[in-house]
Symmetry: C2
Subunit: 759 residues, 2 copies
Amino acid sequence: MYRQLPRLTVFALTLTMPLTATMAAGPTAMHGFTAESAAIEATLEARFDAGLKASEMKDWLKRLASEPNHVSSTHDKANAEFMLAEFKKWGWDARIETFDVLYPKPKQELLELVGPTHFRASLHEPPIAEDRSSQDTRAALPPYNAYGADGDVTGEVVYANYGMPDDYKDLARRGISVKGRIVLTRYGGGWRGLKPKLAYEHGAIGCLIYSDPKDDGYGAADAYPAGAGRPALSLQRGSVADMPIYTGDPLTPGVGSTKDAKRLAIADAKTILKIPVIPISYTDAKPFLAALKGPVAPANWRGGLPMTYHIGPGPAKAHLVIHSDWSQQTIYDVIATLRGSEFPDEWVLRGNHHDGWVFGASDPLSGNVAMMGEMKAIGQLAAAGWKPKRTLVYSSWDGEEVGLLGSTEWVETHMEDLAKHAVAYINSDGNSHGFFGAGGSPSLQRLVDEVAAGVTDPTMHATVLERSRARAIIAAGHGEESRRVAQSLLKGGDLPLEPLGSGSDFTPFLQHAGVASLNLGFGNDDPSGVYHSIYDSYDHYIRVEDPDLNYGVALAEVAGHAMLRLADADLLPFHEQELASNVTRYIEELEKITDKMRADTLDTNQIIEQKLYDLGADNADPVGPPPHEDQVPFLSFAPLKNAALALTASAAEFDASYTAALNGKRPALSKSTLAAVNAQLRAAEPALLAVEGLPGRDWYKHMIVAPGLHTGYGAKTLPGVREAVEERRWSEATDYIAIITRTLDAHRAVIDSANKLLR
Amino acid sequence: MYRQLPRLTVFALTLTMPLTATMAAGPTAMHGFTAESAAIEATLEARFDAGLKASEMKDWLKRLASEPNHVSSTHDKANAEFMLAEFKKWGWDARIETFDVLYPKPKQELLELVGPTHFRASLHEPPIAEDRSSQDTRAALPPYNAYGADGDVTGEVVYANYGMPDDYKDLARRGISVKGRIVLTRYGGGWRGLKPKLAYEHGAIGCLIYSDPKDDGYGAADAYPAGAGRPALSLQRGSVADMPIYTGDPLTPGVGSTKDAKRLAIADAKTILKIPVIPISYTDAKPFLAALKGPVAPANWRGGLPMTYHIGPGPAKAHLVIHSDWSQQTIYDVIATLRGSEFPDEWVLRGNHHDGWVFGASDPLSGNVAMMGEMKAIGQLAAAGWKPKRTLVYSSWDGEEVGLLGSTEWVETHMEDLAKHAVAYINSDGNSHGFFGAGGSPSLQRLVDEVAAGVTDPTMHATVLERSRARAIIAAGHGEESRRVAQSLLKGGDLPLEPLGSGSDFTPFLQHAGVASLNLGFGNDDPSGVYHSIYDSYDHYIRVEDPDLNYGVALAEVAGHAMLRLADADLLPFHEQELASNVTRYIEELEKITDKMRADTLDTNQIIEQKLYDLGADNADPVGPPPHEDQVPFLSFAPLKNAALALTASAAEFDASYTAALNGKRPALSKSTLAAVNAQLRAAEPALLAVEGLPGRDWYKHMIVAPGLHTGYGAKTLPGVREAVEERRWSEATDYIAIITRTLDAHRAVIDSANKLLR
């Protein structure tokens, strides 16, 4: 369900070598390898590349996306079985692991405007002549937001913009309540699942989510098939399970949904919403918006429909009915392994999901076929006699779209295995033409840099690293941070690897199990105008995204090289200083944020006390004052800063010892020492977990990064403290300063142990 | 032609006393008055206020706006004659001064899409049932942009966004030329006259300017009559004379357009444009935009029409025909004086124009009737025996809309009088409900503060100063400057008086003749959706703007009090430190801008040399590199900074002496000393003029402030240097550093002379 790379983001790469040097210049820059092993590895990668065929990926894409392939569809299972057979054919030890998950499917849906006039929403995406698979969608489910509640509700409509926390603050200042009403929100501004959740928390009885043309329709690009914009009747399906609490089957938090797993009652599942919610097109939303009166919406609430947006409440009145089949369905994870020759108990993991909302050509199959390409090429290497030193585990996940079901249930089932064996997990999802981007664990930044510097862009005479770097430099906005990054890049500095929030299958690995993870892919500026619609089809993909799957090959090269290096490195290719420097920066941010909140709170309270909000309001649009807030105390960040300081020193020493151990100037390390160091390196990321987890969501154990409770996909770093500060829970912030300090100290202890072994 | 106050601007007031103190608290804070004279003045102002009648203003508004009143219309002359009679009736010595000006009037207009399909633009604003005067517009001129060229042109259309310099840079980076083509621009982003001027300079043969619904139509507010937004077929008339070169009759730069004045040939008039241009509604623009292909317009170019905006060129092809009557017309300035009892040769000037584009109820008549209210109330005071110490000169200007004709020709005719007699000029123009705002000479900041602190807002229990201050505080954006201002205000600091650019009749007084000036008015957040349309009517004004003319009374109070204080003060109410502190800030800005340009140029050139623009471009929308620029040298700002430093000291000494002279602790000054000091104070602003004027536009003599050559209405401070820096003319920047330094030194010499007289 991952959306393509956000616009003008600073891409997630680090440049650790002179600008003109690339991997092509020689094998010396291969982190974790001696010069001798690096030379062998470079040859291996060239053979791997030769095994990648864009035309095969295109054929697989066409086949896998030929019919609707959501969980419980015939084609979903058929795809899994097709892949299983292929993987076996290519020499992999493959199997299908199934889980039985709660998977609601709509049986009845109705949305109508019942006052002041009548209109019935079509809730239907019509066929487009240029798009073959859109002609027959009989096997598809009706459009819906999975894990919304069933219900039959009627109420006045309130337009709430993106339906995010700030929007409710704006409503409150206008004296408008959504209580007992139906909230009309537009996609964007934050994760979709927060929209009905916040609507419910504010008393609403139902929620509509439409795609405004300004955000991904004609305001962003020509509508498909002319361009990448969303057509007038297209809508965005999507899960609204409360995944920032936990992912996977809502009935089995923390354990695998095996046949005999103990399950919660649906009413007790925290991630299932309490009110009905439905996704609609702007064509269906327009009559509701047009019938609203009340205040004109603030400037940043206005979308691209040719009308003046009003907030309501009413007189528009909506009637929404949703009834679903809440039975269990089976999901099919296809798991393929290639046993390591030297360290079979060290697992290097890779995954991409195979289920789509409808045809799913871009999301997820474009990434899945790239991964298949890797598997076939690796199979050919193995058939020719090569074996990875470590065990490779490739997975094509099912049930990702509604809540990362396949990956989460697998991770929860194999927690002990992962604790013992996992080296790292590399994820991908939908892929497109454009620029390479990556997010993940800072310890893998060096690996990503080097790999990206060794892969050539399919359309330009440059490496994918050089293109991403160029883009980050020219796209740098006026923000202090992007200017800083761009200027540093111009001087040859690092592009940061983005912290991972959620939205794809890395979440259970990284944030629940503590496996060092990466998420890789290519993307561009186009709006995701067919995202989660029936038009995310093979025809669309070939027309708009990556006509010849050349960027599929590029993704296979980047991910494949990373997998091969993780599998074959003498010392696991982790580099430890980046975590320390990132954490140091995060702490500085938190101090700045807290200081700014303190100053703003003082100002705001003074403005409230002097009644300036009333005096300064325009008569035509009276906006009341915000609530008076308690003063922001000074927090003791010192323990955290000392932990970061100590880690900075330890990591620098370790990285120096690591380099010395491989540069040939010291005696070679014994195999048992290498294994012992590698065991420590594998233990470094899990040390960042805390058993108590995050406040109110203890499934999330990682103390450095998590999806934001109020951002959904977006990452929050040092989330225990950051969210406590943002929500003004000061004692919780202090508690988590201590907890994060403890995990940083634990992490440092692991690094120090590894360092001792190297000396 | 002044547009109402821009949105969320920081209003132009200074708070120089504790927040809770207002003039109501006592007369001690009346700058320029001894305690004794202040008490008398306060009583006088109360009597003045009692003479103001909102209902009379409403009647005048209805009468003056009852028919089209553009220059050459019957009603324009009738209005002048009506006012003349009234002014005389109220006891003023009144006369009409006429000038004969070039005033083009369209005879033939045609705009059509001639390919790939055909469409003929309506160029017509239809009647609206709720708006009485819109029912009969037979006496109105067709919509046009005055001083565009005649022509009959056909060409491919290019959409150029706002048609500002940056837009042409964007076009160039996409390889799109407007040469031989017709440029379609939208209103906004800068002054309208620049759109056809820049189009011509880039080779275009014609220009269309439409009002996009995002900017002032349904995207900003409900369309009139439901709200303040522009209706679907409404359009914005307006002058495109190149007023940043000079204002007034294009044929008589620098001299009054009297009967026998020497006139240029039309072809030689620099302010008349060379290509035809026409204003149109978005309904008329839509078929042209919809027919464009080529690249999708960048995000910030997209407006509110329900389509994807493309740039072209073509295939849309336009045919534009304009033929005008270029004969001379007579304009009617109504001038009324009330002779001063003690210092009749010191003139305190006030003005507002009376001509409109059509009915002109808001622009300009709402301001004009407030001024009439002042005149009637002052007439009553005079009839009761009071006389101003100085001579009052009130003017209702004609011909402002097409180029400040009435005020400019009058100023140019009376240059010697002004040099001898002028104390200050106070301007107003259209007025509305909302917040008081002011711009003008820093020496008058203290006066404005005190006056605004003594006028009560019509709708709230607060002074107009308190409301503007509250608004500036809560409207402060995230920009460094507005935060600084807001935080300073919260601590009781000053709100800066905005520097004056152009757009109303203060320009010839301030920037050509060097008369210290103010521009005063009330405004709000509403879009100016009927600006320069037939719907700027009495009915509209009463419905949307100021139903009972209560803000008309408030304007009359603010402007009237300022006039009375200027007329009666013992020492002219100038305060000198504000200029020094403003100039110091402007110099700091210029240094920052130059430093930033230097750093950016280095970065950009490096990015160009490394070909990163090519590497970082998205395949789907390739944007080429910007041009390589020469390095930015270091400029020697030291002379300017030293001049500002010296002025800071002199002004502080003067202000201290001034206060001491009036606080009763020293012997009272003789009348001749007062007169001598006042003569110096009147000489202070003219000292800021430089005989050489600004580069390429020597009509503009003021060295501290001018309308920007590329902003039109928007002010540029220290324009000789600022524009040279922005346009990378380094030696010119150095020349103007010397010239400004000279004027600051001259100004300081005047202040020092005044100070000597006071000691």
